[in-house]
Protein backbone atom coordinates (compact mmCIF):
# COMPACT_ATOMS: atom_id res chain seq x y z
CA UNK A 1 0.00 0.00 0.00
CA UNK A 2 2.90 2.30 -0.71
CA UNK A 3 1.00 5.00 -2.61
CA UNK A 4 -1.79 5.45 -0.13
CA UNK A 5 -2.19 8.55 1.99
CA UNK A 6 -2.50 8.40 5.78
CA UNK A 7 -6.25 8.97 5.43
CA UNK A 8 -6.51 6.10 2.97
CA UNK A 9 -4.60 3.83 5.33
CA UNK A 10 -6.80 4.92 8.20
CA UNK A 11 -10.00 4.14 6.30
CA UNK A 12 -8.65 0.77 5.10
CA UNK A 13 -7.45 -0.11 8.59
CA UNK A 14 -10.79 0.83 10.13
CA UNK A 15 -12.71 -1.16 7.52
CA UNK A 16 -10.47 -4.19 8.13
CA UNK A 17 -10.96 -3.83 11.87
CA UNK A 18 -14.75 -3.57 11.42
CA UNK A 19 -14.66 -6.73 9.27
CA UNK A 20 -12.60 -8.49 11.92
CA UNK A 21 -15.04 -7.45 14.66
CA UNK A 22 -17.97 -8.63 12.54
CA UNK A 23 -16.20 -11.98 12.13
CA UNK A 24 -15.70 -12.14 15.90
CA UNK A 25 -19.45 -11.55 16.34
CA UNK A 26 -20.32 -14.31 13.87
CA UNK A 27 -17.85 -16.66 15.59
CA UNK A 28 -19.46 -15.79 18.94
CA UNK A 29 -22.85 -16.88 17.63
CA UNK A 30 -21.45 -20.14 16.24
CA UNK A 31 -19.13 -21.07 19.12
CA UNK A 32 -21.40 -19.99 21.97
CA UNK A 33 -24.61 -21.63 20.67
CA UNK A 34 -22.72 -24.91 20.51
CA UNK A 35 -21.11 -24.27 23.90
CA UNK A 36 -24.45 -23.29 25.41
CA UNK A 37 -26.06 -26.53 24.24
CA UNK A 38 -23.16 -28.62 25.54
CA UNK A 39 -23.13 -26.79 28.90
CA UNK A 40 -26.91 -27.14 29.19
CA UNK A 41 -26.59 -30.82 28.33
CA UNK A 42 -23.90 -31.34 30.93
CA UNK A 43 -25.88 -29.54 33.64
CA UNK A 44 -29.04 -31.50 32.80
CA UNK A 45 -27.21 -34.88 32.59
CA UNK A 46 -27.61 -35.38 28.85
CA UNK A 47 -25.32 -35.13 25.83
CA UNK A 48 -26.50 -32.14 23.79
CA UNK A 49 -25.61 -32.17 20.07
CA UNK A 50 -23.52 -35.28 19.21
CA UNK A 51 -23.84 -36.09 15.48
CA UNK A 52 -23.14 -33.13 13.18
CA UNK A 53 -19.39 -32.99 12.50
CA UNK A 54 -18.70 -36.22 14.41
CA UNK A 55 -16.75 -34.89 17.45
CA UNK A 56 -19.23 -33.71 20.10
CA UNK A 57 -21.50 -32.30 17.39
CA UNK A 58 -19.17 -29.33 16.91
CA UNK A 59 -20.63 -28.41 13.49
CA UNK A 60 -24.22 -28.18 14.74
CA UNK A 61 -24.22 -24.38 14.93
CA UNK A 62 -22.64 -24.11 11.46
CA UNK A 63 -25.37 -26.36 10.08
CA UNK A 64 -28.02 -24.24 11.83
CA UNK A 65 -26.58 -21.08 10.28
CA UNK A 66 -26.66 -22.62 6.78
CA UNK A 67 -30.20 -23.81 7.33
CA UNK A 68 -31.30 -20.31 8.40
CA UNK A 69 -29.92 -18.92 5.11
CA UNK A 70 -32.43 -21.07 3.20
CA UNK A 71 -35.46 -20.11 5.30
CA UNK A 72 -38.29 -18.13 3.75
CA UNK A 73 -38.49 -14.47 4.72
CA UNK A 74 -41.96 -13.61 6.04
CA UNK A 75 -43.02 -10.04 6.71
CA UNK A 76 -46.58 -10.06 8.11
CA UNK A 77 -49.10 -8.07 6.08
CA UNK A 78 -50.08 -6.09 9.19
CA UNK A 79 -46.49 -5.19 10.09
CA UNK A 80 -44.94 -1.74 9.75
CA UNK A 81 -42.61 -2.81 6.95
CA UNK A 82 -39.93 -0.12 7.21
CA UNK A 83 -39.43 -0.46 10.96
CA UNK A 84 -39.72 -4.24 10.74
CA UNK A 85 -36.82 -4.40 8.27
CA UNK A 86 -34.68 -1.81 10.04
CA UNK A 87 -35.00 -3.16 13.62
CA UNK A 88 -32.70 -6.22 13.28
CA UNK A 89 -30.06 -4.13 11.52
CA UNK A 90 -30.16 -1.57 14.34
CA UNK A 91 -29.73 -4.29 16.96
CA UNK A 92 -26.79 -5.69 15.01
CA UNK A 93 -25.22 -2.23 14.62
CA UNK A 94 -25.58 -1.44 18.33
CA UNK A 95 -23.58 -4.55 19.06
CA UNK A 96 -20.96 -4.08 16.32
CA UNK A 97 -20.27 -0.43 17.25
CA UNK A 98 -19.49 -1.34 20.86
CA UNK A 99 -16.74 -3.71 19.67
CA UNK A 100 -14.89 -0.72 18.18
CA UNK A 101 -13.62 0.40 21.60
CA UNK A 102 -12.49 -2.99 22.96
CA UNK A 103 -8.71 -3.05 23.63
CA UNK A 104 -7.51 -6.51 22.55
CA UNK A 105 -3.82 -5.95 23.22
CA UNK A 106 -1.63 -2.84 23.65
CA UNK A 107 -2.44 -0.57 20.69
CA UNK A 108 -4.70 -3.13 19.03
CA UNK A 109 -7.99 -1.28 19.24
CA UNK A 110 -10.22 -0.04 16.44
CA UNK A 111 -11.13 3.35 17.91
CA UNK A 112 -8.97 4.47 20.84
CA UNK A 113 -11.58 6.89 22.16
CA UNK A 114 -10.99 9.00 25.26
CA UNK A 115 -14.64 8.38 26.08
CA UNK A 116 -14.18 4.62 25.50
CA UNK A 117 -16.27 3.05 28.24
CA UNK A 118 -18.93 5.75 28.06
CA UNK A 119 -19.10 5.26 24.28
CA UNK A 120 -19.58 1.50 24.71
CA UNK A 121 -22.54 2.02 27.07
CA UNK A 122 -23.99 4.70 24.80
CA UNK A 123 -23.96 2.63 21.59
CA UNK A 124 -25.10 -0.58 23.29
CA UNK A 125 -28.24 1.31 24.39
CA UNK A 126 -29.24 1.31 20.73
CA UNK A 127 -30.10 -2.37 21.15
CA UNK A 128 -33.05 -1.35 23.37
CA UNK A 129 -34.42 0.90 20.62
CA UNK A 130 -34.04 -1.93 18.11
CA UNK A 131 -35.92 -4.35 20.35
CA UNK A 132 -38.74 -1.88 21.01
CA UNK A 133 -38.88 -1.12 17.28
CA UNK A 134 -39.07 -4.84 16.40
CA UNK A 135 -41.86 -5.45 18.91
CA UNK A 136 -43.91 -2.47 17.79
CA UNK A 137 -43.39 -3.01 14.05
CA UNK A 138 -44.42 -6.70 14.22
CA UNK A 139 -47.97 -5.65 15.11
CA UNK A 140 -48.20 -8.81 17.18
CA UNK A 141 -49.36 -8.94 20.79
CA UNK A 142 -46.66 -11.35 21.92
CA UNK A 143 -43.99 -9.25 20.27
CA UNK A 144 -45.29 -6.01 21.80
CA UNK A 145 -45.41 -7.46 25.33
CA UNK A 146 -41.97 -8.96 24.88
CA UNK A 147 -40.58 -5.69 23.63
CA UNK A 148 -42.15 -3.66 26.46
CA UNK A 149 -40.76 -6.07 29.03
CA UNK A 150 -37.39 -6.11 27.31
CA UNK A 151 -37.16 -2.33 27.19
CA UNK A 152 -38.21 -1.94 30.85
CA UNK A 153 -35.68 -4.55 31.94
CA UNK A 154 -32.80 -3.31 29.83
CA UNK A 155 -33.18 0.36 30.74
CA UNK A 156 -33.52 -0.53 34.44
CA UNK A 157 -30.41 -2.70 34.55
CA UNK A 158 -28.41 -0.25 32.49
CA UNK A 159 -28.25 1.97 35.57
CA UNK A 160 -26.55 -0.50 37.99
CA UNK A 161 -24.41 -1.69 35.05
CA UNK A 162 -23.04 1.80 34.44
CA UNK A 163 -22.90 2.73 38.15
CA UNK A 164 -20.85 -0.40 38.94
CA UNK A 165 -18.06 0.78 36.65
CA UNK A 166 -17.77 4.21 38.29
CA UNK A 167 -15.57 3.00 41.22
CA UNK A 168 -13.11 1.79 38.57
CA UNK A 169 -13.19 5.15 36.77
CA UNK A 170 -12.46 6.80 40.15
CA UNK A 171 -9.33 4.67 40.49
CA UNK A 172 -8.16 5.15 36.89
CA UNK A 173 -9.09 8.77 36.26
CA UNK A 174 -9.85 8.07 32.61
CA UNK A 175 -12.62 6.54 30.50
CA UNK A 176 -10.18 5.32 27.85
CA UNK A 177 -10.40 1.53 27.77
CA UNK A 178 -6.66 1.11 27.21
CA UNK A 179 -5.89 3.33 30.23
CA UNK A 180 -8.22 1.19 32.34
CA UNK A 181 -6.30 -1.98 31.40
CA UNK A 182 -2.86 -0.38 31.79
CA UNK A 183 -3.81 0.73 35.33
CA UNK A 184 -4.20 -2.97 36.28
CA UNK A 185 -0.68 -4.08 35.32
CA UNK A 186 1.32 -6.42 37.55
CA UNK A 187 -0.50 -9.64 38.41
CA UNK A 188 -3.99 -10.50 39.51
CA UNK A 189 -3.83 -8.65 42.82
CA UNK A 190 -3.60 -5.42 40.88
CA UNK A 191 -6.85 -6.20 39.06
CA UNK A 192 -9.63 -3.88 40.14
CA UNK A 193 -11.84 -6.75 41.29
CA UNK A 194 -9.36 -7.40 44.14
CA UNK A 195 -8.49 -3.75 44.74
CA UNK A 196 -10.87 -3.18 47.65
CA UNK A 197 -14.07 -4.76 49.01
CA UNK A 198 -16.27 -2.16 47.31
CA UNK A 199 -14.83 -2.95 43.90
CA UNK A 200 -15.30 -6.66 44.58
CA UNK A 201 -19.01 -6.04 45.23
CA UNK A 202 -19.19 -3.71 42.21
CA UNK A 203 -17.83 -6.49 39.99
CA UNK A 204 -20.60 -8.89 41.03
CA UNK A 205 -23.19 -6.13 40.62
CA UNK A 206 -21.85 -5.61 37.10
CA UNK A 207 -22.02 -9.35 36.44
CA UNK A 208 -25.65 -9.68 37.58
CA UNK A 209 -26.70 -6.55 35.67
CA UNK A 210 -24.94 -7.84 32.55
CA UNK A 211 -26.98 -11.06 32.65
CA UNK A 212 -30.16 -9.00 32.78
CA UNK A 213 -28.86 -6.65 30.09
CA UNK A 214 -28.36 -9.55 27.67
CA UNK A 215 -31.89 -10.86 28.44
CA UNK A 216 -30.63 -14.23 29.62
CA UNK A 217 -31.90 -16.53 32.32
CA UNK A 218 -32.80 -16.09 35.14
CA UNK A 219 -33.77 -12.70 33.68
CA UNK A 220 -35.11 -13.86 30.29
CA UNK A 221 -38.50 -12.16 30.77
CA UNK A 222 -38.59 -10.63 27.26
CA UNK A 223 -38.40 -14.06 25.60
CA UNK A 224 -40.25 -16.30 28.04
CA UNK A 225 -41.04 -19.07 25.58
CA UNK A 226 -43.82 -20.52 27.74
CA UNK A 227 -45.74 -17.22 27.94
CA UNK A 228 -44.79 -15.03 25.00
CA UNK A 229 -43.96 -17.59 22.24
CA UNK A 230 -40.64 -15.88 21.45
CA UNK A 231 -41.06 -12.31 22.66
CA UNK A 232 -40.04 -9.45 20.41
CA UNK A 233 -38.79 -11.67 17.56
CA UNK A 234 -41.93 -13.83 17.30
CA UNK A 235 -42.66 -12.66 13.73
CA UNK A 236 -39.08 -12.79 12.47
CA UNK A 237 -37.84 -15.58 10.23
CA UNK A 238 -34.70 -16.52 8.34
CA UNK A 239 -31.85 -14.05 8.16
CA UNK A 240 -33.64 -11.27 10.03
CA UNK A 241 -34.15 -13.61 12.99
CA UNK A 242 -30.50 -14.61 12.68
CA UNK A 243 -29.49 -10.96 13.20
CA UNK A 244 -31.21 -10.87 16.60
CA UNK A 245 -29.64 -14.19 17.43
CA UNK A 246 -26.19 -13.04 16.33
CA UNK A 247 -26.48 -9.80 18.32
CA UNK A 248 -27.65 -11.69 21.42
CA UNK A 249 -24.64 -14.00 21.47
CA UNK A 250 -22.26 -11.22 20.44
CA UNK A 251 -23.57 -9.13 23.35
CA UNK A 252 -23.11 -12.09 25.68
CA UNK A 253 -19.41 -12.10 24.82
CA UNK A 254 -19.25 -8.30 24.73
CA UNK A 255 -20.42 -7.83 28.34
CA UNK A 256 -17.99 -10.57 29.43
CA UNK A 257 -15.12 -8.84 27.60
CA UNK A 258 -16.06 -5.46 29.14
CA UNK A 259 -16.10 -7.11 32.59
CA UNK A 260 -12.63 -8.53 31.87
CA UNK A 261 -11.32 -5.15 30.69
CA UNK A 262 -12.80 -3.13 33.54
CA UNK A 263 -12.44 -5.51 36.50
CA UNK A 264 -10.29 -8.49 35.55
CA UNK A 265 -7.15 -6.90 34.18
CA UNK A 266 -7.99 -7.00 30.46
CA UNK A 267 -5.03 -8.38 28.52
CA UNK A 268 -2.78 -8.88 31.59
CA UNK A 269 -2.10 -12.46 32.68
CA UNK A 270 -2.82 -13.39 36.34
CA UNK A 271 0.89 -13.91 37.00
CA UNK A 272 3.26 -11.12 35.92
CA UNK A 273 5.65 -12.21 33.17
CA UNK A 274 3.18 -14.48 31.41
CA UNK A 275 1.86 -11.68 29.20
CA UNK A 276 3.04 -13.24 25.93
CA UNK A 277 -0.44 -13.52 24.38
CA UNK A 278 -2.47 -10.48 25.45
CA UNK A 279 -5.43 -10.89 23.07
CA UNK A 280 -5.69 -14.62 23.86
CA UNK A 281 -5.61 -13.87 27.61
CA UNK A 282 -8.52 -11.45 27.18
CA UNK A 283 -10.50 -13.96 25.10
CA UNK A 284 -9.93 -16.73 27.70
CA UNK A 285 -11.20 -14.44 30.48
CA UNK A 286 -14.22 -13.58 28.34
CA UNK A 287 -15.02 -17.24 27.60
CA UNK A 288 -14.73 -18.15 31.31
CA UNK A 289 -17.20 -15.39 32.20
CA UNK A 290 -19.54 -16.58 29.43
CA UNK A 291 -19.33 -20.07 30.92
CA UNK A 292 -20.26 -18.64 34.34
CA UNK A 293 -23.18 -16.83 32.69
CA UNK A 294 -24.39 -20.11 31.11
CA UNK A 295 -23.95 -21.95 34.40
CA UNK A 296 -26.23 -19.37 36.06
CA UNK A 297 -28.77 -19.57 33.22
CA UNK A 298 -29.15 -23.34 33.36
CA UNK A 299 -29.16 -23.55 37.16
CA UNK A 300 -31.53 -20.84 38.39
CA UNK A 301 -35.26 -20.65 37.67
CA UNK A 302 -36.67 -17.55 35.98
CA UNK A 303 -37.60 -14.64 38.26
CA UNK A 304 -40.97 -12.88 38.22
CA UNK A 305 -41.26 -9.39 36.80
CA UNK A 306 -41.85 -7.81 40.25
CA UNK A 307 -38.78 -9.63 41.63
CA UNK A 308 -36.82 -8.36 38.66
CA UNK A 309 -37.71 -4.74 39.38
CA UNK A 310 -37.24 -5.21 43.12
CA UNK A 311 -33.72 -6.54 42.62
CA UNK A 312 -32.73 -3.71 40.31
CA UNK A 313 -34.22 -0.63 41.97
CA UNK A 314 -34.23 -1.62 45.65
CA UNK A 315 -31.06 -3.71 45.89
CA UNK A 316 -28.60 -3.13 43.08
CA UNK A 317 -28.91 0.64 42.62
CA UNK A 318 -28.52 1.47 46.36
CA UNK A 319 -25.64 -1.03 46.66
CA UNK A 320 -23.79 0.35 43.64
CA UNK A 321 -24.27 3.90 44.93
CA UNK A 322 -22.75 2.82 48.25
CA UNK A 323 -19.88 1.19 46.34
CA UNK A 324 -19.09 4.52 44.68
CA UNK A 325 -18.97 6.39 48.00
CA UNK A 326 -17.12 3.53 49.67
CA UNK A 327 -14.55 3.31 46.92
CA UNK A 328 -13.94 7.06 47.03
CA UNK A 329 -13.48 6.92 50.82
CA UNK A 330 -11.14 3.92 50.46
CA UNK A 331 -8.96 5.88 48.05
CA UNK A 332 -8.79 8.82 50.46
CA UNK A 333 -8.24 6.78 53.65
CA UNK A 334 -5.72 4.33 52.15
CA UNK A 335 -3.56 7.29 51.20
CA UNK A 336 -3.47 6.40 47.51
CA UNK A 337 -4.18 10.00 46.63
CA UNK A 338 -1.21 11.27 48.59
Amino acid sequence: MGGMSDQGLHVTGAALMATLMFTVMALCAIVFTWMERKVAGFIQSRYGPMYTGRWQGWAQAVADMLKILGKEDIIPAQADKGLFVFAPILVLLGSLLAWAAIPWSPGFIAADLDLGLFYIFAVSSMVVIGILMAGWASNNKWALYGAARGAAQMVSYEIPLALATIPVILNVGSLNTQDIVIAQQGGMFNWFVFHDPFLFIAFWMYFIASIAETNRGPFDMPETESELVAGYHTEYTGMRFAFFFLAEYANLFLVAIIASVVFLGGWWAPIPGLDFAPALTLVIKGVLLVFLNMWVRWTLPRVRVDQLMHLCWKVMIPVTLLCIVGSGLWMILSGELG
Partner: protein, 161 residues
Protein backbone atom coordinates in the same frame (compact mmCIF):
# COMPACT_ATOMS: atom_id res chain seq x y z
CA UNK B 1 -6.61 2.78 14.77
CA UNK B 2 -2.93 2.78 13.91
CA UNK B 3 -2.39 -0.79 12.73
CA UNK B 4 -1.49 0.08 9.16
CA UNK B 5 0.05 3.48 9.81
CA UNK B 6 3.85 3.41 9.67
CA UNK B 7 5.60 3.85 13.03
CA UNK B 8 6.31 7.44 13.90
CA UNK B 9 3.12 8.76 12.34
CA UNK B 10 1.31 11.27 14.52
CA UNK B 11 -1.35 9.62 16.70
CA UNK B 12 -4.78 9.79 15.07
CA UNK B 13 -6.87 12.74 16.14
CA UNK B 14 -10.28 12.73 17.78
CA UNK B 15 -11.86 13.18 14.37
CA UNK B 16 -9.95 10.16 13.01
CA UNK B 17 -11.15 8.01 15.91
CA UNK B 18 -14.77 8.95 15.34
CA UNK B 19 -14.25 8.44 11.61
CA UNK B 20 -13.46 4.83 12.57
CA UNK B 21 -16.84 4.66 14.29
CA UNK B 22 -18.51 5.99 11.14
CA UNK B 23 -16.73 3.33 9.08
CA UNK B 24 -17.98 0.70 11.55
CA UNK B 25 -21.55 1.90 10.88
CA UNK B 26 -21.02 1.66 7.11
CA UNK B 27 -19.40 -1.78 7.34
CA UNK B 28 -22.30 -2.93 9.57
CA UNK B 29 -24.81 -1.90 6.89
CA UNK B 30 -22.70 -3.53 4.15
CA UNK B 31 -22.51 -6.86 6.00
CA UNK B 32 -26.21 -6.79 6.86
CA UNK B 33 -26.91 -6.11 3.17
CA UNK B 34 -24.65 -8.96 2.03
CA UNK B 35 -26.21 -11.42 4.49
CA UNK B 36 -29.75 -10.46 3.44
CA UNK B 37 -28.77 -10.50 -0.24
CA UNK B 38 -27.21 -13.98 -0.07
CA UNK B 39 -30.24 -15.25 1.85
CA UNK B 40 -32.52 -13.73 -0.81
CA UNK B 41 -30.74 -15.73 -3.52
CA UNK B 42 -30.97 -18.99 -1.60
CA UNK B 43 -34.36 -18.94 0.05
CA UNK B 44 -37.74 -19.89 -1.42
CA UNK B 45 -40.46 -17.28 -1.64
CA UNK B 46 -44.07 -18.35 -1.94
CA UNK B 47 -46.18 -16.09 0.26
CA UNK B 48 -49.87 -16.80 0.83
CA UNK B 49 -52.44 -14.65 2.66
CA UNK B 50 -52.59 -17.14 5.52
CA UNK B 51 -48.82 -17.13 5.89
CA UNK B 52 -48.75 -13.35 6.12
CA UNK B 53 -51.28 -13.06 8.94
CA UNK B 54 -50.12 -12.00 12.35
CA UNK B 55 -49.18 -14.98 14.52
CA UNK B 56 -51.60 -15.60 17.36
CA UNK B 57 -51.08 -19.29 18.08
CA UNK B 58 -52.82 -20.35 14.87
CA UNK B 59 -56.04 -18.44 15.56
CA UNK B 60 -57.18 -15.53 13.42
CA UNK B 61 -55.83 -12.42 15.14
CA UNK B 62 -58.42 -10.34 16.97
CA UNK B 63 -58.20 -6.56 16.62
CA UNK B 64 -55.09 -4.47 16.33
CA UNK B 65 -52.04 -5.52 18.26
CA UNK B 66 -51.13 -1.97 19.15
CA UNK B 67 -52.90 -2.36 22.44
CA UNK B 68 -52.61 -0.46 25.68
CA UNK B 69 -50.23 -1.98 28.16
CA UNK B 70 -49.43 -1.57 31.82
CA UNK B 71 -48.69 2.02 32.84
CA UNK B 72 -45.79 0.66 34.97
CA UNK B 73 -43.66 0.46 31.84
CA UNK B 74 -43.95 4.22 31.34
CA UNK B 75 -43.08 4.87 34.99
CA UNK B 76 -39.98 2.69 34.69
CA UNK B 77 -38.98 4.69 31.62
CA UNK B 78 -39.42 7.93 33.62
CA UNK B 79 -37.25 6.69 36.50
CA UNK B 80 -34.70 5.52 33.99
CA UNK B 81 -34.35 8.98 32.48
CA UNK B 82 -33.82 10.56 35.91
CA UNK B 83 -31.22 8.02 37.03
CA UNK B 84 -29.49 7.74 33.69
CA UNK B 85 -28.89 11.48 33.70
CA UNK B 86 -27.46 11.01 37.19
CA UNK B 87 -25.04 8.41 35.86
CA UNK B 88 -24.00 10.78 33.07
CA UNK B 89 -23.20 13.46 35.66
CA UNK B 90 -21.22 10.97 37.75
CA UNK B 91 -18.84 10.09 34.90
CA UNK B 92 -17.05 13.47 34.58
CA UNK B 93 -16.70 13.65 38.37
CA UNK B 94 -15.25 10.13 38.48
CA UNK B 95 -12.73 11.01 35.77
CA UNK B 96 -11.34 14.13 37.50
CA UNK B 97 -11.60 12.92 41.13
CA UNK B 98 -8.14 11.35 41.29
CA UNK B 99 -6.57 14.40 39.70
CA UNK B 100 -8.38 17.09 41.71
CA UNK B 101 -8.48 15.52 45.18
CA UNK B 102 -4.80 16.16 46.01
CA UNK B 103 -5.14 19.84 45.02
CA UNK B 104 -5.15 21.87 48.27
CA UNK B 105 -8.51 23.40 49.24
CA UNK B 106 -10.20 21.55 46.38
CA UNK B 107 -10.08 17.95 47.62
CA UNK B 108 -12.78 18.17 50.26
CA UNK B 109 -14.99 20.17 47.91
CA UNK B 110 -14.64 17.55 45.14
CA UNK B 111 -15.59 14.78 47.57
CA UNK B 112 -18.44 16.46 49.42
CA UNK B 113 -20.00 17.93 46.31
CA UNK B 114 -20.60 14.45 44.95
CA UNK B 115 -21.82 13.17 48.33
CA UNK B 116 -24.41 15.96 48.35
CA UNK B 117 -25.36 15.18 44.73
CA UNK B 118 -25.79 11.49 45.57
CA UNK B 119 -27.71 12.35 48.74
CA UNK B 120 -30.21 14.48 46.81
CA UNK B 121 -30.74 11.65 44.34
CA UNK B 122 -31.07 9.11 47.13
CA UNK B 123 -33.87 11.27 48.55
CA UNK B 124 -35.57 10.96 45.16
CA UNK B 125 -35.10 7.19 45.15
CA UNK B 126 -36.36 6.97 48.73
CA UNK B 127 -39.42 9.05 47.78
CA UNK B 128 -40.52 6.79 44.89
CA UNK B 129 -39.71 3.78 47.08
CA UNK B 130 -41.93 4.99 49.95
CA UNK B 131 -44.69 5.98 47.53
CA UNK B 132 -44.67 2.38 46.33
CA UNK B 133 -43.82 3.23 42.73
CA UNK B 134 -40.83 0.89 42.64
CA UNK B 135 -43.05 -2.09 43.37
CA UNK B 136 -44.39 -3.67 40.21
CA UNK B 137 -47.77 -4.31 41.81
CA UNK B 138 -48.66 -1.08 43.54
CA UNK B 139 -50.92 -1.24 46.58
CA UNK B 140 -54.18 0.60 46.06
CA UNK B 141 -54.86 3.47 48.43
CA UNK B 142 -57.06 2.30 51.29
CA UNK B 143 -60.49 3.75 50.68
CA UNK B 144 -62.98 3.94 53.53
CA UNK B 145 -66.48 3.25 52.25
CA UNK B 146 -68.28 6.42 51.18
CA UNK B 147 -70.45 7.86 53.94
CA UNK B 148 -74.16 7.53 53.50
CA UNK B 149 -76.07 10.73 52.80
CA UNK B 150 -78.88 9.56 55.04
CA UNK B 151 -78.46 10.63 58.68
CA UNK B 152 -77.75 7.70 60.98
CA UNK B 153 -80.79 8.54 63.15
CA UNK B 154 -83.14 8.31 60.18
CA UNK B 155 -81.59 5.04 59.07
CA UNK B 156 -82.19 3.54 62.48
CA UNK B 157 -85.80 4.74 62.40
CA UNK B 158 -86.36 3.17 59.01
CA UNK B 159 -84.86 -0.13 60.01
CA UNK B 160 -86.89 -0.13 63.20
CA UNK B 161 -90.17 -0.01 61.25
Amino acid sequence: MNLLLPPGTATPSLVADYATVLIFILVGFVFAGIALGVAKLLRPSNPSPAKLTTYECGELPTGSSWVRFNVRFYLVALFFIVFDVEVIFLYPWAVVFKQLYPVPQLGALVFWEMIIFLAILSVGLAYVWVKGDLAWVKKLVDRTPAESATPAVLEEEVSAQ
